[in-house]
């Protein structure tokens, strides 16, 4: 690592961004989006632009590619130079030659950036032939070479497949091969692994590092994940509200951060292993709760749960015929405890969460607070809804955009016909206070809030009926790290004061480690390992669990050498 850094600082500069300032044009006047962004990218270097949502990191990358929507965003001053060539004033047709050939880009969601009705091979050859004079046959051979270079298994067959036939990781490999096919000098990767599972993420990050030296490209990596930064970056620029507030080598940023915000950002990242040697999550509230000290009866009991999609037209309509999403899942959950459900996408963890609440048809035995859940009709489940609630992944999507926050929180009371309008108002105010929001916000609409505030609103709504069990499905996955930490603290605090039991579904091992007492690891619809969090995390028995744990990016650049 030291080697690459020395080389990087001495290497010639490929891309220079100077004093880049950008305004957004809104009906209410212009708003500064980027404010004096300056950085240099050296040959063979990986520079990470790190920051939370809205910090301007993606806008910066689009500005370099000159792909900004010209009607709403305007560069007011600054310069972007590729070697000595100014890109901002370049004619559009000349810029088209730069894109792909000199600067290439890969995006977060490979499915949406590949053309769904075009074969992989055709898309690759098209990309190659746009910038290189080459016959179709030669281009196809080049495409095959590229697929081999990104280590796709069975590359020859992939050429004739469509994007939907590949897995997420393979699609991202195709995107990378497409981006590198013209040997660009600069590769911009905008959150390239955010949509991928953690084990796949580890593979893709490793691949990018290898390809960088093989193809002699420099990489600008845009990410919100300090763990990813620590894994791949030579240098880091921390962005906040359209400014670079701190920049330096990765080691310097992680070990000696100067700005308070950088320190906060690094501190907020949950570290795997942070709770080593403990049995329970940290205590947040100062209130001693005697009630839940020795919980006896389980609030949730699940025996041999199985969910099959598509056997008949169910919630998802046209599923594959009889696809078994979950089978043989059994567990029980006591008041005041948190059971973490971990696994990668498609492992059946969300399905389990929905089935437990009777939101999808299932077979097996589910008992909530002693009451068996037998039917999944809305009316039959109504009494159960007061005991068990759900918090979703995307707080914005799970709030009705046409309802004020106050109405949304009071909705459960209206549905269950509890209290009158005045009581509702008081209840909403007290719930908002409980989740750390001002009662005045009750008249506002969800779109007026930030992500973290919205999730607080969703938590308040889930608490309205004073449930005993909350199913939290990836509840913090969509939030920025600093906000995520605060929402997790809120959930812990509420658990302590209200004796809630959480079924905590997450793909993020570090978050699970912080939140849970017990853990269940799922894969392909089955539980592969379960037990106390301490046991599973500190001495995992199953290879899959070990793989999951080791794939988590660790926010410590020094660990890279050891690995």
């Amino acid at each position: 690592m030291k080697n690459t850094q020395k080389q990087a600082s001495g290497a010639p500069v490929v891309l220079t961004v100077e004093d880049l300032t950008l305004d957004a044009l809104t009906p209410f006047g212009s708003k500064r989006v980027l404010d004096g962004i300056s950085f240099k990218l050296h040959e063979g270097e990986t520079l990470c632009l790190a920051g939370e949502s809205g910090s301007g990191k993606s806008v910066t990358s689009l500005a370099i590619m000159r792909l900004l929507p010209i009607t709403s965003l305007r560069v007011t001053r600054g310069s972007i130079k590729l070697h000595d060539r100014e890109l901002l004033t370049l004619h559009e047709s000349a810029m088209r030659n730069v894109r792909g050939a000199d600067i290439a880009m890969i995006f977060q969601e490979p499915m949406t950036s590949l053309n769904p009705v075009m074969r992989i091979g055709d898309q690759l050859t098209e990309a190659i032939r746009t910038h290189q004079k080459m016959g179709v046959g030669d281009a196809r051979r080049a495409a095959l070479e590229m697929l081999d270079a990104v280590k796709i298994t069975d590359a020859k067959r992939r050429l004739d497949q469509y994007p939907h036939e590949l897995s997420g990781g393979m699609r991202q490999r195709v995107m990378i091969s497409m981006a590198l096919s013209c040997r660009p000098k600069v590769l911009i990767a905008d959150e390239p692994t955010t949509a991928l599972d953690v084990t796949v993420q580890a593979q893709i990050l490793k691949l990018l590092q290898e390809l960088k030296s093989e193809f002699g490209a420099s990489i600008i990596m845009i990410t919100h994940d300090m763990g990813v930064v620590a894994e791949v970056a030579d240098r880091v620029a921390i962005m906040k509200s359209g400014k670079i507030i701190e920049a330096g080598t990765t080691l310097k940023i992680f070990e000696n951060p100067q700005e308070a915000y950088t320190q906060e950002l690094i501190a907020a990242v949950p570290r795997l292993g942070a709770r080593k040697g403990t049995d329970s999550p940290p205590r947040i509230s100062s209130v001693e709760n005697v009630e839940v000290q020795t919980p006896s009866t389980a609030v949730l009991n699940v025996e041999e749960l199985a969910v099959t999609y598509g056997a008949k037209a169910g919630w998802f309509g046209k599923g594959a015929v009889g696809f078994s999403a979950v089978r043989g899942v059994s567990f029980s959950l006591k008041p005041g405890r948190t059971l973490g459900l971990v696994g990668e996408s498609g492992s059946g963890k969300s399905t389990t969460g929905k089935a437990v609440l009777g939101l999808i048809p299932f077979s097996g035995k589910v008992t909530i607070d002693g009451v068996p859940i037998t039917k999944t009709s809305q009316a039959a489940l109504k009494p159960m809804r007061r005991l068990a609630q759900m918090i979703f992944q995307d707080p914005y999507a799970s709030l009705d955009p046409r309802m004020t926050v106050g109405e949304a929180i009071a909705e459960p009371l209206v549905i269950h016909q509890i209290g009158n309008k005045n009581e509702h108002r008081d209840e909403v105010a007290s719930l908002l206070r409980k989740v750390g929001l001002s009662p005045d916000v009750a008249t506002r609409y969800p779109h007026e809030f930030s992500g973290g505030q919205r999730q607080r609103i969703c938590i308040a709504r889930a608490l309205t009926l004073r449930p005993k069990l909350i199913v939290a499905d990836e509840s913090v996955a969509a939030l920025d790290v600093s906000v995520r930490a605060r929402v997790l603290d809120l959930m812990l605090e509420l658990q302590e004061t209200m004796g809630l039991a959480y079924l905590f579904i997450s793909h993020d091992m570090a978050v699970v480690e912080r939140m849970c007492h017990d853990v269940m690891v799922m894969r392909n619809g089955e539980v592969v390992e379960s037990g106390s969090r301490r046991k599973v995390f500190e001495s995992p028995q199953v290879a899959y669990t070990k793989e999951l744990l080791s794939a988590v990016p660790i926010p410590d650049p020094r660990r890279r050498n050891a690995a």
């Binding site: 037209a313 309509g317 929905k354 609440l357 939101l359 809305q378 009316a379 489940l381 109504k382 159960m384 809804r385 007061r386 609630q389 759900m390 979703f392 992944q393 995307d394 999507a397 799970s398 709030l399 009705d400 955009p401 046409r402 309802m403 004020t404 909705e411 459960p412 549905i415 269950h416 506002r444 609409y445 779109h447 007026e448 809030f449 930030s450 969703c458 709504r461 009926l465």
Partner: protein
């Protein structure tokens, strides 16, 4: 009240609102405003050769081939056309909205039956259906409205169905279910409000097409029966005299255009005003 205030603030919406008001008022007050009875055939309404009179001081918009005053006929015709445009078209949107929403929410067998019926109706020639219905029932204004409503709901149902299917999959609907909300509550309080923009756009765009459909029916003799005037049948009665007496086509055409346009302007404004997302962010 807020809605009215917001409409008055936007120039385009205000213009549309004003024209709608004028059309509605003149339809109601037709007997007071009209200079002649609409069905009176006047001797001096025709030239000596028997052709219609162009607009002049006595007949403001000219006369038709039977020597009737066009201005008076337009005023009375506004009544017919408004009933067709608002009532028939409104019922069509309402039927389409209900069926589309039910099919999209319930899916399964019920949803399939509703949608296959919709497909059948779509494939069936609308005019043929209208002719059959009108032949079975005695033609009158309300029957025509009924016929138009039973033909025009299909497109709305299709669009609403697709939108509802997408809405049902959204997390906030799942969230409502997890709170224990009944099907009725979800449909009426959480799905219907999101379909208002679609309903408004279709409701206003449909006015012009329904007015013209009524004209077609009248032309075929199964619509509004002469001598009763409607904007559509004025155009159709006079179309063969277009080169000789263009005013007979221009003025009723202009009336349809203006009315449809102004309903559209009002609808557009309404859609924006009723959408909370258009309000400022925090």
């Amino acid at each position: 009240m807020r809605v009215l205030r917001e409409i008055l603030r936007q120039p385009a919406a205000l213009l549309g609102f004003a024209i709608v008001c004028i059309v509605v008022l003149s339809a109601f007050a037709a007997p007071l405003i009209a200079p002649f009875p609409p069905e009176q055939q006047m001797f001096d309404g025709l030239t000596l050769e028997g052709s219609p009179m162009p607009p002049d001081a006595k007949f403001w918009l000219g006369t038709d081939t039977l020597g009737r005053d066009l201005f008076s006929r337009l005023l009375y015709g506004a009544r017919t056309s408004l009933i067709i445009g608002v009532v028939a078209n409104g019922s069509a949107v309402l039927i389409g909205l209900t069926l589309g929403m039910l099919a999209g929410y319930l899916r399964g067998t019920v949803g399939n039956i509703i949608m296959r019926f919709t497909d059948l109706m779509m494939a069936f020639p609308a005019l043929l259906l209208a002719i059959v219905l009108a032949a079975l029932l005695k033609p009158s204004l309300w029957i025509v409205a009924l016929v138009i409503a039973s033909v025009n709901w299909v497109q709305v149902a299709r669009i609403v169905y697709t939108e509802t299917c997408a809405l049902v999959e959204r997390d906030f609907i799942v969230a409502e279910r997890s709170l224990g909300a009944s099907h009725g509550r979800i449909i009426f309080f959480h799905i219907a409000p999101h379909l208002i923009p679609t309903a408004i756009v279709w409701g206003t765009l449909g006015i012009a097409t329904t007015v013209l459909l009524e004209a077609t029916l009248s032309f075929l003799g199964i619509g509004v029966q002469p001598p009763q005037a409607s904007w559509g049948n004025i155009i159709f009665e006079s179309q063969s005299y277009f080169t000789a007496a263009p005013w007979l086509v221009y003025y009723p055409g202009l009336a349809i255009l203006l009315t449809a346009l102004s309903f559209n302007l009002v609808g557009d404004a309404l859609r924006d005003i009723l959408d909370p997302l258009q309000r400022g962010r925090l």
